[in-house]
Amino acid sequence: MTSLILADRYEILTHSPLPELSTATAEAYEARDLKVPESKLYALKTSVFPAPRLSAIDPVFSVSQGNPSLKLVHLMHAANATWGKGVLDRSAALIYQRPGQPVMHSLADIFPPWPEEKIIKKVIFPLYNILQFFRQKEISHHAIRPTNLFYEASSMQSDILVGECLSCPPGYGQNSIFEPLSLALADPISRGEATIAADLFALGVTICFLLNGGAPVNLSDERTIILNRIESGSFATFLPTKQISGTMIDLLRGLLVDADESRWSLKELGGWLTNGKVAQPNPGQPRKASRPISFNGKDDIYTPTILAYEMRCNPIAALEIIDKKDISMWLKNGLNDHSRVHQLEDLKAITPASASASEKLIGVLQILDKGSSFFWQGKSFTGPGLGNCLANAIIRDDLLDGYVRLILSPILSYYLNDVKIRKDKPLDKTFGSQISVIQNMMEYRGMGGGIESCLYSLCQDIPCLSPNLKSYNALNVPDILAGLNLIGMGTDRPDQIIDRHISAFIAVHESTLPHVFFHNMDSANKLKKHIAIIKFLVELQRRCKLNRLQGLAKWVVDLAIPLLSEYKNIRLRQDLEKRLLDLVEAGNLKPIAKLLDNHKLLEADQMGVHKAQAEAEYIKKKAHALIANLNSEEHYSQSIGYNNAMILSTVLSLGFTLFYIFAMVLG
């Protein structure tokens, strides 16, 4: 029996899964509140990638805690938790109030149609209130669908709760029919953060499901649904087959407008709820050409948006038609659309001569279907969804060179110049300006730059995707240090501590770090590179105020010891090794860096090598001379010996002579 306790309060029973509450990327488990044992909770174990909506957690938590009466599955707690399968098995845990059964288990379910009054009371009113709060927090729900509506577990009046929206990337779990056309064509992972307008559209489609007692369209044929939506509009496509009142038709007409700017806002929805007043939107049907254009064997294409959709479905044929200039002729003669013809002319000016066919296709599709998702080598993404799209490509190691070309291409920043990072803030900067900044980062291919830095700039929610930390879910710099420290404590450690992902992640999240730290890590000299990495880690340790990182210190020292071969003096090396090992225990990286980064010592060592080699040469010469002397028949000391003999005999003779003279004189 395994369980996990968060914040000393919430116990997650990992042995008790709840598949009915699992989402596209998160597994659900039973959970308990240890302080309030009677409350029923469930926990979601999210995936590292696709990453949950981390930036939306705080606003949602605030809405949940501040408004307990909201008909929302309340978020009780969120934390980056370590799950039972080892210290490196981490991901975000979301603890929610546990709802009852979902309204629909799957979108294919059929059930008795709901009365309009019930829908208004149980769904529209609560959702209106929830979306009001979400708008105040400047977030969208982006997961409104019948399968994410639940009956309240404790309620006897079968109240409806709106399900969670945080465990997946925005719109990831949504069927395309719940998305406005601009988002519906994007890949689920690449839809990006949207606005309340997208939620209102999803509300409209959800109402259609409830009024109809099931799906209002054949869900198995997505292509037909999209084509119908483009040609006839989403309202006409999703209008329930069952009889509904005029006021409800007004509501659906207002909510199911495909263009965001024409769709009802919360204000209009509020007006409809309070006094039934409606301001009918003007959806504006697409203008049809006087003659169709033939594309890929189809002769009945009358609108540019249909043509754009068909071109997305057949990109190779689309590239051919772009080269033939048939489109501008058709726009000019068949549709009399001079504006688009001029835009096509402008596109030639924007795109450099070396631009690839895929770059031209992006531009042509944007001209034909303005505001739709971007199409690049088989992938569709919105401006805000580019980060997740790129992350997905990096994870799968799929067409990365293509993404590098895309981001460096002027075409993307040109079309993203109109897209605000926060759509509800008109004065906020655009994605185009952000892409321009990112292009500079991309051009620097060293550590802290390249496609990785582009990823983390575009996608602030994403954890560090370094292979070293792939299971640690490192969401910030202290997480990275803690993760590396844990890896350092183990035995199965990678060869390098800081890789391109980690450096890029830190470059983006610690923007005040001087660039020299990253530049030094590109050194070809292994010791210099390692010292640069340690100094980089020292700076991070200082900034994060993590005093004891024993595992990381051990890892750093273990990698440094073989590099000490740069020092030629073996005793110095042994001394340094001993001192380094002594520093591991303290877990402070600064003295380790100081000990290794000693230029004077290295220079003295190199000088010492030359001196020792000269001394060795001198010793060898001297030894050769000595051996030659020893081996020679006539030793140089032979003459000294004869001289000594003469001196001795002289001394003896003189001594005897003096003695004799004295003896004679005295005698």
Partner: protein, 170 residues
């Protein structure tokens, strides 16, 4: 200087010079000359056999021979270099023995001091060589492969090891 060069050396000129001086001496001081000829026999012998470069054998034997001849010359001087005193000296075996012993000491010094000196210097050279080998080994210990291996010291350390092994066995 090689052995052949040593044997080739000719002291005949010196001998002839001495003989000439001797003949002149015999005419002027016959007693002195006779005694000198008799008691300086060892020196003449050394001179004839001396092959050393600096006449060290002759010098050693000669100077000791001269010193030990002092009593003879004193007697001769007292008796005014008379032939009687020559006869007296020649017939005094102790006097001649004393002269021979003196010359013998000179010869012994010549034979023993150079080998001892050479032995001392050789020992010192070997000690220096071992010190150099130790210094080289220390450098090698300190700097490793940066100091190239030397055959001289490798062989030397082998021979030292062999010597120590044989000493242990003994």
């Amino acid at each position: 200087m090689s052995k052949t060069e040593r044997t080739k050396r000719d002291n005949s000129k010196i001998i002839i010079l001495i003989l000439v001086l001797f003949i002149i001496g015999v005419v002027t001081y016959p007693g002195l000359m006779i005694i000198s000829f008799i008691i300086l026999m060892p020196t003449f012998a050394a001179l004839l056999t001396d092959v050393s470069q600096n006449y060290s054998l002759s010098f050693c034997v000669g100077i000791c021979n001269l010193a030990s001849s002092l009593p003879c010359f004193r007697i001769l001087y007292r008796n005014q270099f008379s032939l009687e005193s020559v006869y007296q000296i020649v017939h005094d075996p102790f006097m001649l023995l004393f002269v021979l012993v003196g010359s013998g000491i000179g010869w012994l010094i010549y034979l023993s001091v150079p080998p001892i000196t050479m032995g001392y210097y050789r020992k010192q050279d070997q000690s220096n060589l071992q010190k150099l080998a130790a210094k080289y080994a220390e450098l090698k210990d300190c700097w490793g492969d940066m100091i190239p291996d030397s055959e001289v010291f490798t062989n030397l350390s082998k021979s030292i090891d062999d010597q120590s092994q044989t000493q242990q066995q003994e």
